[in-house]
Symmetry: C2
Amino acid sequence: MAIAKQYTVNELLRRFQLNVTDSRKKILQLFLNQQEALAHADIEKKAGEKFDRVTVYRTLQTFVEKGLIHSIPTADNSILYALCKDDCTEGHHQDHHIHFVCEQCEKTACLDQVNIPEIKLPLGFKKEKIDVVISGICKACS
Amino acid sequence: MAIAKQYTVNELLRRFQLNVTDSRKKILQLFLNQQEALAHADIEKKAGEKFDRVTVYRTLQTFVEKGLIHSIPTADNSILYALCKDDCTEGHHQDHHIHFVCEQCEKTACLDQVNIPEIKLPLGFKKEKIDVVISGICKACS
DNA sequence: AACACATTGCAACAAAGTTGCAAAAAACAA
DNA sequence: TTGTTTTTTGCAACTTTGTTGCAATGTGTT
Ligand SMILES: [Mn+2]
Ligand SMILES: [Mn+2]
Ligand SMILES: [Zn+2]
Ligand SMILES: [Zn+2]
């Protein structure tokens, strides 16, 4: 199921079989307002004033499980989250795009338009999922 | 500087301008004995019996800085480390290989033989560093 | 409104990572 | 070797991050 920004948070939550609650509305709205990926810390800071820390953890976990957001691996080991834009469903994420980390503005974005090329693995290896994270200078900063 | 396993840990440490100490010898030996990448937790468990937790942190940090080991970004957000095999130097890591995470044996390895293909970014983006992590079933497990 | 069930906040905890500082170890120079 | 300087270590205390159980509250449904 694709996430289109035309839907209200309430509609989106319902579509993903989630009860509509204040914390979920608030946190989902953060993602919809945002182009870039959000660090867990950011979310906690922006949503945590109103909601308990534990609730933020649980909400993000739920969103990942239901296929609303996906996490992005980073070198510095902080967790980043971004809205799923492909056909992610409960249990299986299908993100065939790359992630770009700007070293200047430090923003991380999903580059949906860029496809990941085929990578030939040595004999015997079976590929299941591939994560590509490129760092450098983003369009806005160059 | 390339890391060849023919060198003793003492020689290697000296080559990388590091004083030879018990903890550094022990931890470097762990990497030399090992094919796969090591999780921070593993290292701490294997080396931590003899050395303080803080020393393990500081040693790994030093190794990364000096270009002896590199960290591998993972989806589940645990830090993995592996010996550098390319021409990593102090300050700049040049790992142009991919990392493979086996979903069965859960081992992560550097696939030095596999080159990362060119990825064309949209206009305005400047690529600096690229991380590719592929998960699936490894040779040994298939 | 009443019910069943899901979600939240709180408290208590566990794990992971950081910092300052004195003691110990390594390197260096006589 | 011995003393001196510099680096590294261990300890303690702390912060930050993440987890769990449970009672209270909120949500969806009839
Ligand atoms: Mn993405
Ligand atoms: Mn590697
Ligand atoms: Zn930027
Ligand atoms: Zn395997």
